[in-house]
């Protein structure tokens, strides 16, 4: 209700300034009336014009009347004016869609509109585009049929793609068994294209495709990935790499230099050099080019219209400490427009952009938001179910397969049914009015809608009921379209029989429905932030600037965390001045109460209303809050190898940054410096990649070279993971003469003191020789280890992963929410990341927490567990509940103390595992009780209704 979604639209201009922009939008004609379109797809079925399907990366064809894919939002068809026969050729041509559209939604009079909006802030998230390798002949793309891009192959693998996941060689249609991936196509490449950056996502998607491929080929086939560095720098990505290796995916560190058609024009023949210099020729059935990401096609145009600056790669320029700020105040960047990034980073960035916009617009909050109100509900207590059944024809979508008239007649014979009718479109505005009239006239108290999916349409019918003063949970849907008419088109008789069964099941369930209440939770408009590092402080400032009182709890004696020891960001921005300002802002903010030497002792309650005792400086105080952000941080591990701690020439990253900040001249005086990567990361003890160290070492090496160009600087690494735009630093470091030597976990460098000399010995895989480096400085990229959060995990009943990093609710789509509502995670306590990413994640957490705190009262869904009289407190459900929503209580019963469980409605997600675990019906989920499920089972088997009662 508060989002105005404009499709087929583009910005034509942005005038004004932050807080008062005028945005003009060109809305192109859709030629289909969105209010009338019911997404039945008949226009596409009847449209005679076939064109290339961009969603399937050109591997399939679609019609001129189309939807891009099955889950489009809004789910409404459109006509593509560039290919439509009528639009192109005019009068008297085609019009098949108009002729067959059952709702009259086709509108060829539709015109382009120019719209104007007055807004306070603008968020740009146009995404990226996939690199097109067709201009580069050496890959053989478009000339060798069995060479595909990553996106084309993705569609081929997809069960919803053109071949439904049944792999085919384009040359022969046979199943490919031996497939190769070539990494860095259109990334890390300034020869064949200008994309010097790393696309950040391709190593992972190639591995995923390889592993999925294994399950799509009988016998598993054989998968080979040709790579330069495997970049598995995300949370638990290294584990995935290990798993792929265990599964037998072949990883070859090489770039094939010759790619030719295979024998007889089928398959692909490749030549490459192995690391030890052998030339190999190999044939594959199929080759996938792991194509990278590029700035969107219209990036320059968009930048000109909005007045923002772009980076040389045409991504939006953003600040190191302000990761979602564009160069223009009031315009924010969400997602991969700021540079290549994976889904969780893009989602977090977008939340951060929303949060920053909310922060800027705080004075205008709730001035334009709308809320719907309903009449009071009738009390239906004691009334017998009086059910109305509404059978939708959905134009011809249902009616062409299911005999809807027979279905209405049948429905009338079912017990409890007082009324049944057929509608052409039950969801249309007219039918909704008719439904409301019938409910009133017939005094209906239960409604069954036999139409499409409750997942898309139940809220609409619930709304209609609520507008009539009837509880919204008294409607049940029978999905006779998606689950029946559309999937049994050649079987109308059995489809009609199935529809009767579905209606009978829905009626049986409707008889058992009872009104449900959406619980209201008053929200405490205060937040708690745990951790006073950069992430915690960013979150606190984000929340306080949105207007919420915030308590910041830091366990140590001062704010600042790890950043106190950091020198510069990867872009060279000095960290100390930024940090000092951030600390001042936190300490001076009227809405932030920053407590040092403090800890959270306990927590009760749930989303909207938590309470905790907080100990600070010897005193304990109790606070209530609506949401909390956990920014508990991580620390640099203490290396137990490479002479660390016994030789003062050996530093960790933080130690080295201190040296560079405090006595840079001492560092510059060194004649040579060696960096060793993955010290304590990516090994058996700590299987994760610490993500930030490769970039940090490369930046530090460049700093040393800048101070003393004569210095010999070496970086000993396993895979160079300078992901995204950081790749430029790696290129610059190589150009500056920094020497990179790769080593394996089985063949680690050795460090020894020989006389006064510090000697590093390592096997160089290029020269095939063991070399010795006499160095003055040795800098170890020590692993990032999470701080101990055991106490907080117990207090908040949240979870960490096997490595001790805090878990998010969903690794891709909910990257800053924790599994329990109202709790959020930010910073390196979630996984290692550089400072800019920590800030963006913290701003995202503040934004998500702000969405809870902004409402005075939260409405919880009514589909929740509840305890019945049969509960005897056996507590089996306690362990079964994945959300820790159940606790045990005691009460007096017949003069004795009895036990019983209790559910926390705010924590319960309504999954009902408790209900399945309970041996005695002591705990049930509203709307899906055992009796309700049983009624459906009995009705499905056409057992007499009387048996339902047994």
């Amino acid at each position: 209700m508060n989002i105005n979604l404009l499709t087929l639209s583009e910005i034509t201009g942005v005038a004004g300034e932050a807080g008062d922009f005028t945005v003009t939008v060109r809305k192109k004609p859709r030629y289909i009336d969105m209010d009338k379109c019911i997404a039945c797809g008949i226009c596409a079925e009847k449209c005679p014009k076939l064109v290339s399907d961009e969603y399937n990366a050109g591997t399939a064809r679609r019609k001129s009347a189309y939807i891009q894919y099955g889950q489009t939002v809004p789910l409404k068809y459109a006509i593509d004016p560039d290919t439509c026969i009528f639009i192109q050729k005019g009068k008297g041509k085609c019009l098949a869609c108009e002729k067959f559209c059952p709702t009259g939604a086709i509108n060829f009079q539709d015109k382009e509109e120019l719209l104007e909006f007055n807004v306070g802030a603008v968020i740009l998230s146009p995404g990226h585009k996939s690199f097109d390798p067709s201009g580069i002949d050496f890959y053989g793309y478009k000339t060798i049929p069995d060479v595909l891009t990553g996106l084309e192959y993705e569609r081929m693998l997809s069960p919803s793609g053109p071949v439904r996941g049944h792999l085919e060689k384009p040359s022969s249609g046979k199943t490919p068994e031996n497939i190769a991936w070539i990494q860095c196509v259109g990334s890390r490449n300034t020869n064949q294209c200008d994309n010097g950056y790393c696309s950040s996502v391709c190593c992972m998607y190639a591995m995923k495709q390889a592993l999925v491929t294994e399950t799509h080929i009988p016998g598993g086939g054989r998968q080979t990935i040709f790579f330069m560095d495997m970049r598995c720098h995300g949370k638990e990505f290294e584990l995935y790499y290990n798993y792929a290796t265990e599964r037998g995916i072949r990883f070859i560190r090489a770039r094939p230099h010759t790619i030719e058609p295979g024998p007889g024009g089928s398959g692909v023949a490749m030549e490459y050099f192995t690391e030890d210099g052998r030339k190999v020729r190999e044939e594959f059935d199929l080759t996938v080019l792991s194509t990278g990401l590029e700035a969107p096609r219209d990036a320059i145009d968009l930048a000109e219209k909005t007045g923002i600056r772009l980076s040389p790669y045409r991504f939006a320029e953003t600040g190191g400490f302000e990761p979602v700020f564009s160069s223009k105040e009031g315009i924010y960047i969400g997602g991969s427009f700021a540079g290549p990034m994976n889904i969780p980073t893009a989602v977090a960035n977008a939340s951060a952009a929303a949060g920053q916009a909310a922060r800027a617009l705080v004075s205008a909050r709730n001035t334009l938001t709308k809320q719907k109100t309903y009449p009071p509900e009738f009390n239906l207590t004691g009334q017998k179910p009086k059910i109305g059944v509404f059978v939708c024809s959905c134009g011809v979508n249902i009616a062409a397969t299911v005999d809807v008239n027979a279905l209405v007649d049948y429905a009338k014979t079912l017990p409890g049914v007082a009324y049944a009718e057929n509608n052409l479109f039950s969801c249309s505005t007219d039918a909704q009015k008719q439904l409301a009239d019938v409910i009133r006239k017939q005094n209906l108290n239960r409604v069954v809608i036999a139409a499409c999916s409750p997942r898309t349409h139940e809220p609409l019918f619930q709304d209609t009921l609520m507008e009539q003063g009837i509880n919204g949970y008294l409607v049940e849907m029978a999905n006779i379209r998606n689950h029946n008419a559309w999937v049994h088109q050649k079987n109308p008789e059995q489809a009609t029989q199935k529809a009767k069964d579905q209606v009978r099941m829905a009626v049986a369930k409707a008889q058992t429905l009872y009104p449900l209440e959406r619980m209201e939770v008053p929200v405490v408009g205060r937040s708690l932030v745990i951790g006073g590092g950069v992430a915690g402080m960013s979150a606190a400032l984000g929340l306080a600037d949105q207007g919420y009182d915030t308590v910041l709890v830091e366990h140590s004696g001062e704010l600042g965390g790890n950043a106190k020891n950091l020198h510069t960001t990867a872009r060279g921005e000095p960290i100390r001045p930024m940090l000092d300002k951030m600390i001042r802002d936190v300490q001076n903010h009227p809405k932030i109460d920053a407590l040092t030497n403090a800890r959270v002792l306990n927590a009760t309650g749930s989303v909207g209303h938590f309470e905790s005792d907080i100990e600070a400086g010897g005193e304990t105080r109790r606070i209530s809050y609506g949401a909390a952000v956990l920014a508990t941080g991580a620390s640099e591990s203490v290396p137990d190898e490479y002479r660390y701690g016994t030789d003062d020439r050996v530093y960790t990253h933080l130690g080295f940054d201190r040296l560079m900040t405090e006595t840079p001249e001492k560092a510059a005086a060194a004649g040579s410096a060696v960096f060793i990567q993955c010290v304590g990361s990516r090994d058996e003890k700590r299987p994760w990649c610490s993500r930030l160290c490769c970039t940090h070492s490369v930046k530090a090496a460049l700093d040393l070279k800048e101070k003393n160009p004569e210095m010999d600087v070496f970086i000993l690494y396993r895979d160079m993971r300078t992901y995204g735009l950081n790749e430029d630093l790696y290129t610059r470091a190589r150009n500056a003469g920094v020497l990179f030597i790769r080593y394996d976990l089985e063949n680690k460098p050795q460090v020894a003191a020989e006389g006064d000399d510090l000697i590093v010995r390592v096997f160089d895989p290029v020269s095939r020789k063991k070399i010795a480096i006499d160095t003055d400085l040795l800098i170890l990229a020590a692993a990032v280890v999470p701080n101990n959060v055991e106490e907080l995990v117990n207090i908040y009943r949240c979870a960490t992963n096997q490595d001790g990093f805090l878990n998010e609710a969903h690794p891709k789509l909910r990257p800053v929410d924790m599994a329990a509502d109202g709790l959020f995670v930010a910073g390196i306590g979630a996984y290692p990341k550089p400072i800019g990413e920590s800030i963006s994640q913290a701003q995202a957490a503040a934004s998500r927490a702000g969405a809870i705190l902004a409402q005075p009262v939260m409405h919880l869904d009514a589909i929740k567990s509840h305890v019945t009289q049969y509960c005897d407190g056996c507590a089996i459900c306690l362990d079964a509940c994945p959300y820790d929503a159940i606790s045990i209580t005691t009460h007096a019963q017949n003069g004795r103390t009895a036990k019983r469980v209790e559910t926390d409605k705010a924590l319960c997600k309504g999954c009902g595992i408790c209900q399945a675990a309970c041996p005695k019906g002591g705990i049930l989920v509203h709307g899906f009780t055992i009796e309700q499920l049983q009624a459906q089972v009995h009705a499905a088997l056409d057992l007499p209704q009387a048996m339902t009662a047994s």
Binding site: S453, H483, N491, Q502, M505, C911, V937, H938, L941
Partner: protein, 67 residues
């Protein structure tokens, strides 16, 4: 077994995945035999084992729990 035998299968479909998959199969017009009767649940974990057995005892030819 007779060739025209059409088994009656009770399906418990998780609202978030299998039921959504059923919806998508519809959008894509993927044709499949009409023998299953779907019951939407909020999680496949909410289906009581007793009910699965009861369905089989009372005449279902099969039960499929998808989630």
């Amino acid at each position: 077994m007779a060739r025209d035998f059409e088994p009656k299968i009770i399906g418990f479909l998780c609202n978030w995945c299998a039921y959504a998959g059923g919806d998508l199969a519809g959008v894509m017009r993927i044709q499949y035999p009409p023998g299953m009767r779907a019951i939407r649940v909020m999680c496949s974990g909410m289906v009581p084992p007793d009910l699965v057995l009861e369905a089989l005892v009372k005449g279902a030819d099969g039960v499929i729990v998808m989630g």
